[in-house]
């Protein structure tokens, strides 16, 4: 195990919970990032404004944290550009095909005790672990 302190992850997780709960309490919506962002890419929808405001909030909230605590954003990872492109394509296609990501299925769906979201979360955790195993232990950590 690496050195870690559970306090910050728990505080951060609680704030994520507050964020998705605010979306439910005020607007009655599931704060699933892939669904909200993906819905924004469909120009036919009339309900684009609230999606844009949520995404804008994500970007602005992130920007504030980049200014206050830049060390929290060590976003570069030991991956080739080709791997980053592949990862992005898989995440985009997969989250839309599977109707959700870590927020919609993992946080909101599990909290609603949705069987679909429990199955989805178990599936992406499993294939994520298999992929990391392949990258780290078969390809030696560099892809």
């Amino acid at each position: 195990m690496t050195d870690f302190n559970p306090i910050m992850p728990a505080i951060g997780g609680a704030l994520i919970g507050l964020g998705v709960s605010a979306m439910m309490f005020f607007n009655g919506r599931i704060a699933g990032i892939s669904g909200i962002y993906g819905g924004m890419l469909s120009p036919a929808r009339k309900d684009t404004a609230w999606r844009m405001m949520f995404i804008l909030g994500l970007i602005v909230g992130g920007a504030v944290m980049v200014i206050l605590r830049p060390e929290m954003f060590s976003v570069t990872i030991d991956r080739s550009t080709l791997a980053v492109v592949g990862a992005g394509l898989l995440v985009g296609f997969g989250t839309r095909l599977g109707s959700g990501c870590t927020s919609g299925h993992g946080v909101c769906g599990i909290s609603r005790l949705s069987p679909r979201s429990v199955a989805a979360t178990m599936t992406f955790m499993l294939t994520g672990a298999v992929t990391v195993y392949a990258v780290n232990h078969i390809f030696g950590g560099a892809v």
Binding site: T2, F4, M8, P9, A10, I11, G12, G13, A14, I16, G17, G19, V20, S21, A22, F26, N27, G28, I30, I33, G35, Y37, G39, W50, I55, G57, L58, V60, G61, G62, M65, V66, V75, I77, A83, V84, G86, A87, G88, L89, L90, V91, G92, F93, G94, R96, G98, S103, H105, G109, R112, A119, A120, F124, T127, G128, T131, V135, N136, H137
Partner: protein, 161 residues
């Protein structure tokens, strides 16, 4: 207006939580998924706290009967576990493990200006468009086949999580 402000505020809270929890560090996500290596349990606490808070606050919200700024709650109603759900989640997990990013942390890291963030975001958007294209092709293939046998065209609705 209040609806839009609430959306914005929810996004800000979410982004601050992602940063504090360490989810804007893909090495921590990959470390969590590396069960046979130097396992980093951070994500257990992130998910645990997020689900704990959400589980309680969702139920308190639903007790009101309706959201504050909207006429009704819009909740997914499907409960069947189908091939699309599992295949999509499996592909998403592979991409998550490969890059260490899921959609939230990528969007909240835009202000870093890092090239990888923009490359990932562009690819992710392309992947989402890719699914729309895939569904359109499948629908037109299905309607072509259905028209040939002169039965009604069945449309497929793609719901959110």
């Amino acid at each position: 207006m209040s609806r839009l402000l609430a959306s914005f505020g929810a996004g800000v809270l979410f982004a601050v939580g992602l940063a504090i929890s360490g989810m804007t560090q893909p090495s921590k996500v990959v470390g969590f998924l590396d069960f046979t290596g130097e396992w980093d349990p951070s994500l257990v606490f992130v998910m645990g706290a997020a689900v704990g808070v959400t589980f309680i606050l969702f139920r308190l919200s639903w007790r009101r009967g309706a959201p504050l700024f909207a006429p009704k709650f819009q909740l997914p109603t499907r409960r069947d576990i189908d091939g699309r759900l599992i295949a999509g989640s499996a592909l998403f997990g592979a991409g998550w493990g490969l890059g260490g990013f899921c959609p939230g942390p990528v969007l909240s890291s835009v202000a870093t200006g890092a090239a990888d963030i923009f490359i990932f975001l562009a690819s992710m958007s392309a992947g989402m468009y890719g699914l729309k294209l895939y569904d359109r092709l499948r629908r037109s293939a299905a309607s072509g086949a259905k028209n040939a046998s002169s039965t009604s065209v069945k449309t497929q609705r793609v719901g959110q999580a």
